[in-house]
């Protein structure tokens, strides 16, 4: 595969960033991680939600982001921000009763189950793991506190599993009353965005269903790349990125293609 692309050609990663950006509205406070989630938040602010606010768990509020940060501690998020603080203040925004429900968190993980619970800690035994991932970081906090989370995943069987090896970040737990029973906030995951599709969660059962698929991808192919079955009856094809969306993503957000690759 060549990195040079036709004008209206686009990579799955570009599609993911744009689909996520479309989820963000004016008035949202967007919690950003590294990588494609940061691109999505930047794209949203430039395209459809100028009155959204990007915050980082490290304490930066609405930074200028002249260059794309490569970590949530990158000095690039300290420049031109409304305020620089630290972790204690940043997470308090998400747990706060007035502001927390307006926060949209964008998360990634190694595994996801049908209720949108996430594992980013270990595969295999917790004490002697087969594979060790970085762990929660702020993901568990965000997933516990905020109004909405959007989850980025690669569409792979080993990632969409019936049972997580470790539940790092709560989704809907075991169904519609799961979060309430445990004492978590009313919020929860609203969308899973992969390199092939977008899944959402049924209003009543909180089970994952296929909401949209990308051009050239079939629902069948998506199911073949999941470890559990989901409802595909509501699925529709998602409009591809517009020329304007692609231009902003490529030219404004990541001209060096540090994240887009």
């Amino acid at each position: 595969m060549t990195k040079k692309k036709m004008k209206f050609d686009y990579s799955p990663r570009e599609m993911m960033a744009i689909v996520a950006a479309r989820e963000i509205k004016d008035g949202d406070i967007v919690f950003c991680g590294t990588g494609v989630s940061m691109l999505a938040a930047m794209a949203a602010k430039h395209i459809s939600a100028p009155e959204s606010v990007i915050i980082f768990e490290t304490g930066a509020i609405d930074p200028k982001l002249e260059e794309i940060p490569l970590a949530v501690s990158d000095s690039r998020i300290m420049y031109g921000s409304s305020m620089n603080s630290g972790l204690a203040d940043a997470f308090a925004i998400m747990q706060n009763q007035s502001t927390g429900q307006h926060v949209v968190g964008i998360l990634g993980a190694a595994q996801i189950d049908m209720f949108g619970n996430l594992n980013s800690t270990t595969i295999g035994n917790y004490v002697n793991p087969t594979v060790r991932f970085p762990g929660s970081g702020g993901a568990c906090d965000v997933a516990s506190f905020v109004g909405k989370t959007i989850i980025f995943m690669q569409q792979e069987k080993r990632r969409f599993v019936t049972k997580l090896d470790y539940l790092t970040s709560p989704g809907w737990l075991d169904g519609p009353r799961g979060r309430e029973k445990e004492g978590l906030s009313k919020g929860g995951p609203v969308a899973v965005i992969t390199n092939m599709a977008t899944m959402r969660f049924d209003e009543n059962t909180k089970e994952m269903y296929l909401d949209g698929y990308y051009n050239g991808i079939t629902p069948k192919k998506i199911l073949a790349n999941m470890g559990f079955g989901i409802d595909i009856s509501r699925a529709h094809e998602i409009p591809p990125p517009s020329a304007d969306e692609l231009r902003i993503l490529r030219e404004v957000c990541d001209p060096q293609r540090l994240i887009l690759g």
């Binding site: 990588g35 260059e67 490569l70 000095s75 270990t122």
Partner: protein, 325 residues
Amino acid sequence: MNTSQDKVTDLKRAISKYVAQGSHISIGGFTVNRNPMAAVYEIIRQAITDLHLYAHSNGQGVDELIGAGCVGKLEIAYGGNGRFAPTCIRFQQAAQDGAILIEDYSNYQMTLRFLAGAMGVPFLPTRSSLGTDITDRWGFSEELRKDDPKLPDDKLVIMENPFGNWLDTSKVVLVPAINPDVTIIHVQKCDRQGTLRMEGLTFSDIEQAKSAKYLIVTCEELVDTSELREYPDQNQIPFFHVDAVVHVPFGAYPTACYRYYDYDPIYLNEYAEYAKDDTRFKDYLNRFIYGTSNHRELLDLIGQKRLKSIAADPRTGYASGLDRR
């Protein structure tokens, strides 16, 4: 706790005085920024082992301490280093080899634990992690906890809200306070007494500093007291928390120090390559750390040209336009 006027010392002395085998320590910074790397390298040079390390997402510093075999036990939220290591490589290897004992928390929980220590309360409450395996799976056994007076008997405690449903909250997770034996932070400016100023984000450095029994501060610039006291609003930690002040220019290198220099993408990318292989990682340690007797010599290996390439742009505080591929 120290009210004296002059706490300036050198790094060798500060580390050997306050950090010993088995010490419970924490380091400041976050992933690729403001880690006290000069101090980390000095700990590695002094071959201090069996450290009990408290980390949220300290990234580079944590990975190097683990890789060099200094760490026995680790309480951590995140072992990653931004785009340079989605999972820190020596951390991952040590975890999979069972070479270190690990207990997981979230970033906010680790911050609250330092904050509890700083505030002098045994715990702080949060709703984070209810219903997850962070509450269910403990890295340290009950026996180990009982044996070590520096560890609380419980990883965390889940409690019904004693104020009914006040704040729409039915349950909370109580996370226990941490009081490290020593915390080490790297800051932009400090005076001889320990009045200090961090610029840019403070991460959890303030909480880590105040919770510690002893606090070592390394700084880019050792400045006059009058300079820092002209704008006291911008200073972050009461000076009497500070026990040692060490002047170490580029003390956070290869991580960034806002308004002074950026992270060095070449170093961090090369480190990731070295870290992938046990033999090559030994080469790395031998060349860059054991092969240098102090941070100045390590910087000499890197050379002025590289250091100049990461110098901060005075307008933005980082190296604008730096090639970071």
